[in-house]
Structure formats: structure tokens, C-alpha cells
């Protein structure tokens, strides 16, 4: 069992699944000789050759559309879009075709494709390289949206995404790519694509997040533990379909909830979770559901990106509000 960073776990999953299933191909800009700008596809070209490792022209609509075309023929395309800010030209193809080909042909055709992309900010990257796209996709019917937050989940969820018979958007936490290493077993075992992970148990408050902000959420839970507050930490992991059962179970226990997301607040996925708690968990709540969120403004350039991204202090501020209304007894 190797100790791997998230980016290495993704690379391992790609190697492993391409070796296992000859129908898997990868495609995207600079993913061949260059191994992807983050090296997620490193070594694939040498191992699997240019027919299965396709350097595409600079055209994201084409990348999405090719993936659709390939997937209809029983190929399992795994497309990389270099940064999620460049996923927008894929949106039309994804929502008007990939998500609905099965439905509109009444099962005759389908699109088992994966589009991977680094998502969220925090690496001092240039403009448009730090966007948060998860909600835009998670609102689309017929899609699965997956956001891994640690190496083992990156590996297991990516395998699951590739094997899934329907289209999957796979958004990876750019700033955590090499942040830490953790054991990953290359056992070819997929993780479930509809299950949230309770990372840490605790009875005082439920902290919910996904993707990159899981890191800040874990740190916040550490800080709370020092204050004697036991936070239950949930990694949503798969935004769509959303595993509300796990979240509601936790809120039933804690009565308090803060949701952490990096995307702009208005219409973010935190709102979806909060709305579901408001509907199904209202009676177990001791206090309002708070959102520690990105702001409703443009993701700033590098110099101010930390102003935008929810940090531990911002999470703790929302937690404090909750305990002010509903103190721990």
C-alpha cells in the first residue's frame, strides 16, 4: 500500500483502469507527451500509446462532444479539461446531449463518459484558473457529480466514475493535489458513487463539505476539538445523487450544522443541502443551518484569493454563531 498524494492516486487509477479495461481511453489538451499540466496522465502515453491517449486540439466543446461520440460506441472516455473555468464550453454538450441521450432514445444509446477537471482556487494560478463549477453541473438531471477530497477516495471514486454507465463530472481539488499523502491500495476497488463519508464522528455539530474545502473543514474540526467541541465531519464526495440520509442522520444527532463550500454562496450546493435539512431535519435543529461559503463575487486574482476562499476562521465564525444561538449544554 503506497503513500500517495491525490494527483498520484488519480494517475494510479487511470493506469490501473486502462490496464484492466481496453475500452478506456483518455483525451484532452496536453494530456499525452506532457502528461497533463498537473501530471494526472503521466506515463499513460508511453504505456498505452497515442490511440488511447489522445491529445486533442484546443477546443473544449470538441473534447466533450468527442467524449459523447466515443461513449456511444462502448468506449469509456475519460476527458481532462485543464481547469474547471474552461468547462463552460462543455456545458451545452453535457446538458443537451450527454445527460439525456439515454432518456431521449429510451435506453437505446448511452454516454458512459467521465470529464475530469481541477476545481477551486488556492494555488496562485492565473485568472479563470480557480473557479468552482460543481453546482452548475449538479443541477443538471441525469448527471453524477463527484468531488474527491483525499487520495483513497480520489482513486476509488475515479474507478467508480469510469465504470459507471452514465456520465460523470469529476472535479478534483487543485490545491490539495500534492498537499498531503495517504495510503492508497491499488486493488481496483471502486467506491460507491452515492454515499457521503462520515470522516470523523462527533455529537456537537455537523460540518459538511466536499472537495478542496474538506481540508479547511478538517482543520476547523481540529480547532473545535481543542475547544472541547466534538464535530462530526462529513465529506459529501458525490454531490449528485446527494446522500442526504447520512447528513440528516448526523444532524438528528447533533442538532447543529455548518456547511462549508468554496463556490459563490447564492445558489451553491450548500444551499441545496441546507434546503433539504430545512425540509427533512427541521425538527432536529437547535439552531439555523449556517453556510461558510465563498462570496457572491468574482474569484479574485492570486493576491486576494485568500480573501475569497473560506478559511478556518470563517468556518469557526459560523460555528460560533450556531453555538451562540444553541449553546452546548
Amino acid at each position: 500500500m503506497a503513500n500517495l498524494a491525490i494527483i498520484e492516486a488519480i494517475n494510479l487509477a487511470l493506469h490501473s483502469e486502462m490496464a484492466r479495461d481496453p475500452d478506456v481511453v483518455v483525451l484532452g489538451e496536453d494530456i499525452g507527451r506532457n502528461g497533463g499540466v498537473f501530471r494526472a496522465t503521466l506515463g499513460l502515453l508511453d504505456t498505452f500509446g497515442p490511440e488511447r491517449v489522445i491529445d486533442t486540439p484546443l477546443a473544449e466543446t470538441l473534447v466533450a462532444a468527442m467524449s459523447i461520440g466515443l461513449s456511444t460506441q462502448g468506449i469509456r472516455p475519460v476527458a481532462e479539461v485543464q481547469f474547471s473555468g474552461f468547462l463552460y464550453p462543455c456545458v451545452d454538450q453535457v446538458v443537451n446531449h450527454a445527460t439525456r441521450l439515454r432518456n431521449r432514445t429510451r435506453g437505446r444509446m448511452s454516454c458512459p463518459l467521465v470529464i475530469r477537471s481541477p476545481n477551486w482556487g488556492g494555488i496562485h494560478a492565473p485568472e479563470h484558473h480557480s473557479e468552482a463549477l460543481e453546482t452548475t453541473f449538479a443541477h443538471m438531471p441525469g448527471l453524477r457529480v463527484v468531488c474527491p477530497s483525499n487520495p483513497a477516495r480520489a482513486y476509488g471514486l475515479l474507478l467508480a466514475a469510469i465504470r459507471d454507465p452514465d456520465p460523470v463530472i469529476f472535479l478534483e481539488p487543485t490545491r490539495c493535489y500534492r498537499l498531503f499523502k495517504a495510503p492508497v491500495e491499488d486493488n481496483g476497488a471502486a467506491l460507491p458513487l452515492d454515499t457521503a463519508f462520515v470522516e470523523r464522528e462527533g455529537g456537537d455539530i455537523t460540518l459538511v463539505s466536499w472537495g478542496a474545502t474538506m481540508h479547511e473543514t478538517r482543520l476547523a474540526a481540529d480547532a473545535l476539538a481543542e475547544q472541547g467541541i466534538a464535530a462530526e465531519v462529513i465529506d459529501v464526495a458525490t454531490l449528485k445523487p446527494l446522500d442526504m440520509d447520512t447528513i440528516l442522520e448526523s444532524v438528528a444527532k447533533t442538532g447543529r450544522c455548518v456547511i462549508v463550500q468554496e463556490a459563490p454562496r447564492a445558489g451553491g450546493w450548500a444551499s441545496e443541502i441546507a434546503a433539504n435539512i430545512a425540509e427533512h431535519g427541521l425538527l432536529s435543529l437547535f439552531a439555523p443551518v449556517m453556510r461558510a461559503s465563498g462570496y457572491d463575487t468574482i474569484m479574485p486574482l492570486a493576491r486576494s484569493e485568500k480573501v475569497y476562499i473560506p478559511d478556518v476562521a470563517r468556518i469557526l465564525r459560523e460555528v460560533r454563531k450556531v453555538f451562540e444561538i444553541a449553546p452546548k449544554n
Binding site: 489522445i54 462532444a65 461520440g69 460506441q73 468506449i75 454538450q93 446531449h97 429510451r106 441525469g142 452515492d194
Partner: protein, 368 residues
């Protein structure tokens, strides 16, 4: 460009136009081989006529409130027949939405087209055992299916299959970036792919010359280094010949190409449109003179390959088939309401089960 001694020509591109039959159905020269086969030529004529009979029926159903919005193919039938004839069963056809004739030739039952425009997804569940079963459904978001053809053809090439992919779209579609991204890239992998532009001169109310500054649509091929040519899409012999040549070149490893077939949309854009708002009756009248059916009939008659009795039989067949399709469509019971969840995913995630249940227990609400 004022040529200076420092300026050299480094590349040159031609657009050619092919027509075998003039509008009166007279051969302008030697014809391709298949034209010597009387049965084959009659069969093509038959499909033209059956398609027109279907088209007429569909419009009539819409006009009497029994079909949703319908996009007629009146006057454009030859392009559909040419596609149907040029492709082999194993090839993959990716239509826009006016190539019904090709779909019929590839095994789509007429009632499926009615079901589709009648608002029933089952219209696109083309039957197993027909070539159409592996073809794509109609594509309404203009041009968006064209770059998908690059992926389909890539898969064919990856698997080393002797198949060709043909994607058709309208003149309007050639303005879309989707179309351009496909054309620009297809030659990179020498794909077995033919782009067919069904240039019917109009994109709803926008005439061809207001669609792009390009003098022809064929020359859009050059943006990807492909050969591009024009053909008279109302000349059944020419359009079949040129398409067949493009398809067989692709099959033989000669790479992708683009064919612009010149035709004319004799009908309104759809039954929801009124073309008199934006084009003259004279223009339409003149276009009727170039009708592909009339033209092939005149040619067949000139060779004594077609009689009035043949025509009568064919008209009767067309009417009967269209009527049978209409009946099959009209008597198809609606799907149960919860069917709106049954093909969303391969298996509906449990998270959405309650929605399916809610719909099921609320009972039918459909109409149409």
C-alpha cells in the same frame, strides 16, 4: 493582395460543383454506373415519393391538431435518399432532422418520426435489427451533434472497423462553433467521416447569404484541410454519386471530407412557421421548378423506365404507408407517467425513487 517579389503563393483550394441532370431531367453528360441500373433508379424514385407522401401526411396531422410541431422535408428528399443509398448498414448516420428518407431506408419506421414530433421519446428507440438501431436520433440543438461525429469516427478507427460515419446538418448549422471544431479536427486522425451540409438556403428566416460571408459552404472544409465540394442536392444522381464517392473514400482510408448539397426548403421552416413573412412567393415558385422528384421522374420517363401505371401504384403505396404510420402513431398509448424516470440513469439512484413514486401515484397527466 498586391503580390510583391517577397510574396509567394503557398496553397490553393478549389470548390467544384457537380450536376448530372438539369432541372428538366436531361442528362448533361455521361452518368455514373448506378444510373444504368433501372431497378435501382426506380427504387430511388420510389423512396423519394414515399418520403413525400409521409411528409404530406405529417403536415396534415399537425394541421388537424394531431401532431406537434413538424419540420417538413419537402423538396429536400433526394439528399435523404442519397444518404440512405450511399451508406452501408454498418455505417453510422448522425442526422439533423430533415433527412427522414435516409432514416426510412435505414429502417426507422415512419411512425417513429411521428411519435417523436408527437412528443413521445419512444420515437427515437429505433428498432433492433435495423441499421438505424445504431444510428443517432434527430438532433434539435443545431449543429451540436456534428463534433460528436468526430468521437464516433474515432471509435470506429480505434477498433479498425470498415465503417463510415456521416453527419448531416443544415446551412445554418455551419455557423456554429461546434461544426467548425469538428471540421478543424477531423483530418488530424484521418477519420472515416463525411460531413454533409444540407443547404436548403434558409435557416428559419435567415437566408443563406446572411448566414456567413463565405461564398460557398463547401469551402468551410478548408478550415480543416478537408476537401469540400458542392453538388446539386436536387439532382438524385449527382447527390448520390458525390456522397457515395465521399463515403467510399473515407472507408478506403482517404480521410474525411465535406459535401455541400444545394437544395431548397419548399415548406415553411416548421409547421410553427409562416415563411411568407420573409420570402417571396416567386422565389418559392422558381424553386419548385428544381424539385428533385419531378426531375428524376422526367429522366426515368425519358428512358421509358417509368409509366403512369407505375406512378399510380406508387402514389397508392405512399398514401397507404403514410396512413398506416399515422394510425400506428395515433393508437400508441402514452407511456405511464413514471416513465420520465425510467431512462434517466441505467438504474435510478435511490435518491430519486420518491419522485418516481410521487409521479406514479399522481397518475397520468399527459395529453397531446
Amino acid at each position: 493582395m498586391d503580390p510583391t517579389p517577397a510574396t509567394t503563393r503557398i496553397a490553393q483550394f478549389d470548390v467544384c460543383y457537380t450536376q448530372f441532370l438539369d432541372p428538366q431531367g436531361r442528362a448533361r453528360g455521361e452518368l455514373p454506373g448506378f444510373a444504368a441500373d433501372a431497378d435501382e433508379m426506380r427504387d430511388m424514385y420510389r423512396w423519394l415519393a414515399l418520403t413525400r407522401a409521409f411528409d404530406k401526411k405529417a403536415v396534415a396531422l399537425q394541421r388537424t391538431g394531431r401532431l406537434g410541431t413538424y419540420a417538413a422535408c419537402l423538396g429536400q428528399e433526394a439528399i435523404g435518399v442519397a444518404i440512405g443509398k450511399a451508406l452501408r448498414p454498418e455505417d453510422i448516420f448522425m442526422p439533423a432532422y430533415r433527412e427522414y428518407a435516409a432514416q426510412f431506408l435505414r429502417g426507422v419506421p415512419m411512425q417513429n418520426i411521428l411519435l417523436y414530433w408527437g412528443g413521445d421519446e419512444r420515437g427515437m428507440a429505433y428498432p433492433e435489427g435495423t441499421p438505424a438501431h445504431h444510428d443517432f436520433p434527430l438532433s434539435v440543438p443545431i449543429g451540436t451533434h456534428v463534433p460528436q461525429a468526430v468521437g464516433v469516427a474515432y471509435a470506429v478507427r480505434l477498433r479498425k472497423q470498415p465503417r463510415v460515419v456521416l453527419a448531416s446538418c443544415g446551412d445554418g448549422a455551419t455557423s456554429k462553433g461546434d461544426f467548425a471544431e469538428a471540421v478543424s479536427s477531423a483530418k488530424l486522425w484521418n477519420l472515416p467521416l463525411v460531413f454533409l451540409v444540407n443547404n436548403n438556403q434558409w435557416a428559419i428566416s435567415v437566408p443563406r447569404e446572411r448566414q456567413t460571408g463565405a461564398q460557398t459552404l463547401a469551402q468551410k472544409a478548408f478550415a480543416g484541410g478537408l476537401p469540400g465540394e458542392q453538388v446539386d442536392g436536387n439532382d438524385m444522381i449527382a447527390v448520390r454519386h458525390v456522397l457515395e464517392r465521399a463515403v467510399e473514400r473515407a472507408r478506403a482510408g482517404g480521410g474525411p471530407s465535406l459535401v455541400e448539397a444545394i437544395t431548397y426548403r419548399l415548406h415553411d421552416h416548421t409547421t410553427a412557421d409562416d415563411a411568407r413573412r420573409y420570402r417571396s412567393e416567386d422565389e418559392v415558385k422558381a424553386a419548385w421548378e428544381r424539385c428533385p422528384i419531378k426531375r428524376l421522374k422526367a429522366w426515368l420517363e425519358g428512358r421509358s423506365w417509368w409509366t403512369d401505371a407505375d406512378e399510380e401504384r406508387l402514389q397508392a403505396e405512399g398514401a397507404a404507408r403514410a396512413e398506416a404510420a399515422a394510425q400506428a402513431f395515433l393508437t400508441t398509448p402514452p407511456e405511464p407517467p413514471q416513465a420520465i424516470f425510467d431512462h434517466l440513469y441505467e438504474r435510478l439512484p435511490s435518491q430519486f425513487e420518491w419522485q418516481r413514486e410521487e409521479v406514479k401515484s399522481a397518475g397520468p397527466k399527459g395529453d397531446c
